[in-house]
Amino acid sequence: MTASRLLERLLQTLPVLFGVSLIVFLMITLTPGDPVEIMLADSRATPEQAAQLRADLGLDRPLPQRFLVFLGNALTGDFGISFFHRRPVRDVIAERLPATIELTLAAILLAIAVAIPLGVIAAVKRDTWLDRALTALSLFGVSLPGFWFGLLLILLFAVQLGVFPVGGRTDFDLEVARVTGFLLIDSVIAGRPDAFLAALRHLALPAITLGLPTAALLTRVVRSAMAEVLTSDYVLFAEAKGLSRRRVLLRHALKNALIPVVTVAAIETGSLLGGNMIVETVFGWPGLGRLVVESIFARNYPLVQAAVLLYAVTYVMLNFTADLLYTALNPKVRL
């Protein structure tokens, strides 16, 4: 892909992002419920004080102006003050984001690690009982409600067997100095294997819960891509050359079958980042998803707007990455 093509693809994403920010802005501001009332609910503020707060937050200005201000600030990375925390939205989000990224990456890696072998096996053993069992299992996995499955895991592995913690990111006594915000990395930096292990144990159940539907989906993608590739002439030709079955399957077939899988996985990562509110809530995971849920209930406009915009940017960028990966894996489209 040439630099100009790259730029063109990037520019194409701008209208999408503008549209998303407009929709988000309208949806939040037009839903009933007054943030100033919510913020002042417990205090005995005078109407004058309420009006002052309203003016401070810019809520007394007309909608179009508020949108333009929001957009202009957003471009400079300024998403305003979180009503709720009374701190810049940017800082609040930056604090919570690593936890969410850590969880998402763990979930997607887990999903890929499960999906590739299962999908390959299903494709190779196509139309046998094993294939049918795996297909049924993945259908089940795709349609499983996340919160229910999460609660089930907690009941079984945390409450009954006690092998995994019930929730949170780590144990109280095992906190390490925050450097990157990624606990696994920070505990390596701090040279604390005990903290690393604790973080890993806390990560396990939420990552499984979040990754399971994706694993199921990817298994189906791997299976169908692989099944198609296996009927191709080049697989027959590779076999005719006398290559081992292993080499034919894992090199010739899999490399081509992975092209659509990588695309789907990149897009899925975007959905996971934006779709982990339930899992974070169930597991008390201090990430962005839970923050967004709390902020929606508190009508914390600036934060919700920033978060949804962040989701949209990530989603668009991951689609873009999927494109790049597709190009890298497929010599035929390389320009």
Binding site: S232, Y234, L236, F237, E239, A240, L243, R247, N256, K332
Partner: protein, 295 residues
């Protein structure tokens, strides 16, 4: 079926689409895909029954002793690997890799690809159609097999390239003593290049023999029909006679002659067994009335 091809010899295999040419030769290479399987018979290669050797032994034979060239190089070559990688892995699979890049370049030059060493790192789609077909043949022949099954290796090419690739196969046959099974729809190509021919119909060999004699005096009505359905250079105005009727459903065969529903010479005995009979002089036919086919 009895398939013997001597070193340096070319056997033409003809028959309508769906007559089982590809399936038959893929089964020789042990490459039938499920649900396909060999129900009966033996496949002898150097006196060994290939149906009895283990999968590992068969794999060692494939590519090393018998190789396959396919119709469309664009689909036969893996789009995700370079020509060099695909050539070298064949050498490696058979323990023949020494100074691989030189070997690979030599293999490409052998099939007439110019500046071969530089083209090793190209992907299949970067080759032109004719060069790609040559590259595929080079890959098939990398380990210097003795038998090449070429399944319509020129159908996907235009006329000039077709002749070039066929010339190449002739050359390899003469120089290296390669035995060639050339599967084709084109009887003219067989008449020109293959001393012996095998005619297939509905999954069976119905006639075989020296090409010149088979063409001059077919001993099976299907062969005769095939010849009559082709235009002839020396007599372009001769009326063409396509064979009426259709190939029987191979899943529902009785024991009789498979051509019977389309044969104008059928008699009641044709519902019985029709084995491939040796008629002397290297000729064989399944027709019970072979002697009467060409009056």
């Amino acid at each position: 079926m009895d398939l013997d091809i001597a070193a340096g010899e070319a056997l033409g295999v003809v028959g309508e689409s769906g007559s089982g040419k590809s399936v038959t030769f893929l089964s020789v290479l042990g490459l039938l895909r499920p649900p396909g399987r060999i129900e009966a018979g033996e496949i002898l290669f150097d006196g060994r029954d290939l149906r009895r050797v283990s999968r590992a032994e068969l794999r060692a034979l494939r590519g090393r002793h018998m190789a396959l060239a396919m119709q469309d190089a664009l689909s036969a070559l893996n789009p995700a690997f370079t020509i060099g990688q695909q050539l070298i892995e064949t050498l490696e699979a058979h323990g023949l890799a020494a100074n691989t890049r030189e070997q690979a370049a030599a293999a490409l030059s052998r099939v007439g690809i110019p500046s071969a060493a530089e083209r090793l790192d190209d992907y299949p789609h970067q080759f032109s159609g004719g060069m790609r077909q040559r590259a595929m043949i080079a890959i098939s022949l990398a380990a210097r097999p003795r038998l090449l099954v070429a399944d319509e290796p020129t159908t996907a090419l235009d006329v000039t390239l077709r002749a070039q690739v066929l010339d190449l196969l002739d050359e390899l046959r003469e120089q290296d003593g390669l035995a060639l099974a050339l599967i084709t729809h084109d009887l003219a190509v067989v008449a020109e290049r293959c001393p012996r021919v095998m005619v297939m119909y509905a999954g069976q060999v119905v006639e075989s023999g020296p090409t010149a004699q088979v063409v001059a005096r077919p001993l099976h009505p299907y062969t005769r029909g095939l010849l009559e359905s082709l235009p002839r250079l020396e007599d372009p105005d001769r009326p063409l006679h396509p064979i009426p009727g259709q190939v029987p459903d191979l899943a529902r065969l009785d024991g009789g002659c498979r051509f019977r529903n389309r044969c104008s010479m059928a008699i009641s005995a044709c519902a019985g067994p029709t084995p491939l009979a040796d008629l002397g002089g290297g000729r064989a036919s399944r027709c019970l009335r072979a002697a009467e086919v060409s009056p």
